[in-house]
Symmetry: C2
């Protein structure tokens, strides 16, 4: 199977609901966001009037971002999900994505489930594959995703203000707990392991929550490298500090049964959470809780923003904890 047959067989789909392509491949100008999809030198995107295009890219490498044992369908899900999570953190509506894929061999037993996992999430989220590249090489998946957001309304890392509440969606730390099991550091009952493995391999991007937070949150980021590290990016971009309660950070019942030190490691610096961390004025608490209920995603307050620089981590009793938790760094050894 050659490169072009591979693309035609696994990655070319009829134009989706966001496309409107005329008989000669031209945009029929009825305002659909994808004017031209896969198959030419470029795809053409047309964000709606008054919209900006949000762009994000993530590259996934075996051994760094996923284990060689992961099912191809889950790998594809994750590769797209981590990009949609970045769009969610900006409050953008996902539109489309490109896929660049290097793989050692054009292997049916990999490509068929990979494409199935990819399109399952793409269709659930209403995003269209508009282009890409395939090549032989060590397994590498690079997705670039596109969304639209009304001009000036994107949620950025730089908007946090002193006094703002700190919020986080969902629960934290399950993906890290699963990694510890894979590393042989820990054993879990089968059902518990399946639950945390699902968190690691099939993260759910918080797209509806991100959009609901436009106009409510002052800053947002998605959690990929661990809460302390990612919060650090918000604090630096906003030129503020924070106080957070480690014991208030939400965790699953599986994680809540582990040793306290492991729980803290997982929620503070676990990595691969793909939840949204955001800040908002206290006056928005009711509105945020209502928005979160509406989209069906739990949110939890766990601290507040300080004018003074620095991150202070305390426990439920207000005692200071060591603040040396580091975010995940892909070049750290």
């Amino acid at each position: 199977m050659g490169e072009f047959e591979l693309i035609a067989r696994y990655f070319k789909r009829p134009p989706g609901p966001r496309s409107q392509v005329g008989p000669n491949g031209q945009d029929t100008s009825d305002g659909r966001a994808v004017a031209l999809g896969i198959g030419d030198d470029c795809a053409l995107l047309a964000p709606a009037e008054g919209m900006q295009l949000a762009v994000t890219t993530d590259m996934l490498v075996e051994g760094r971002h996923f284990l060689s044992t992961v099912a191809p369908a889950r790998l594809a899900h994750k590769a797209l999900a981590v990009n949609l999570s970045d769009l969610a953190a900006c409050g953008a509506e996902p539109l489309a994505f490109t896929l660049a894929l290097a793989l050692p061999r054009p292997d049916e037993s990999f490509l068929a489930p990979f494409a199935a996992g990819l399109f399952a999430l793409a269709e659930a989220q209403g995003v269209e594959l508009i282009g890409g590249d395939t090549t032989a090489g060590p397994l590498n998946i690079c997705i670039t995703a596109f969304g639209q957001v009304p001009r000036g309304q994107a949620l950025l890392r730089s908007g946090a203000c002193a006094g703002d509440d700190l919020w986080v969606s969902g629960t934290l730390g399950d993906a890290r707990l699963a990694l510890e099991v894979f590393r042989g550091e820990l054993a879990l009952a089968a059902a518990d392991f399946e639950q945390v493995r699902e968190a690691m391999e099939r993260p759910q991007p918080r797209v509806t929550l991100g959009r609901a937070l436009r106009g409510l949150a002052t800053a947002a980021i998605d959690l990929s490298d661990g809460l302390v590290g990612d919060l650090g990016h918000v604090l630096a971009a906003s030129n503020v500090g924070a106080v957070i309660d480690a014991d208030a950070l939400p965790r699953s019942t599986v994680l809540a049964r582990q040793a306290p030190a492991l729980q803290r490691q997982c929620v503070l610096a676990g990595g691969d959470d793909y939840e949204l961390l955001f800040t908002a004025p206290a006056a928005q608490r009711t509105a945020i809780e209502a928005a979160a209920r509406l989209v069906g995603v739990p949110v939890t307050r766990f601290g507040h923003i300080d004018a003074a620089a620095g991150l202070h981590i305390v426990d439920a009793a207000g005692r200071a904890l060591e603040a040396s938790w580091r975010g995940f760094d892909h070049f750290a050894t």
Copy 2:
């Protein structure tokens, strides 16, 4: 050196002329195309009124797209150039790009010249690095590039009509000739080798020509996998055939001194040319020659489009040549 220090040291530049970012990182809405660059979860693009956004992505892998001996500055140039070449083929004005980079180690001796080569071309072409991803892993460079084109004016593969002339820019085959030298199949004098090696390692994307062809050309494609293979994509997308004169295909003086069979191999199926192949009605000949002169890129007519399917390759005397030349396929063995 960690991931974030690496990005800050090598890839973060002051916002370029296409950016206008306010004090809180927000778009100041004066119509610049890059509303928010590197450093947040997403970048924000705002194509000008009436413009569509052209998107293309290419992944480069060692041993497939470049040799391990290539200078890092040239590798970076080529990784960006091949994407700009896709934008050129659509007639788009380049705006910005993202870079996802996997490399075995965060190695200064690689990163410093790589960044220098990347920004040299980016600045020459007026495109801004707006985001990306870096990770440890086998060397892999994935660039996604963005341009803008007036709605409905993008040059596509699907517009070729029976009777149209076939044109190509520049000269063909030098990159392939250089590859044959690297493979030990051929020896060239040092100065000749430098010339063809430059063609292989530092292709010049035909951006100004592509824009000049809007409204003149009926179809266009950039030549990356060899003329016969890439022309095949145009013929298939346009549902037409073609007759081409292999001896009319433009070649450098270095290639013109090689054996006739090697010349044909290089110009018909060389690969890595990054010239524009385009079609246009005969009535546009004068206008096309004038446009090409204006942008300083030579163009050559080498055949015409037929209503009947199929590609017929002839020599200068009109004798049929074997038509079994194949394009480059990244999974062919």
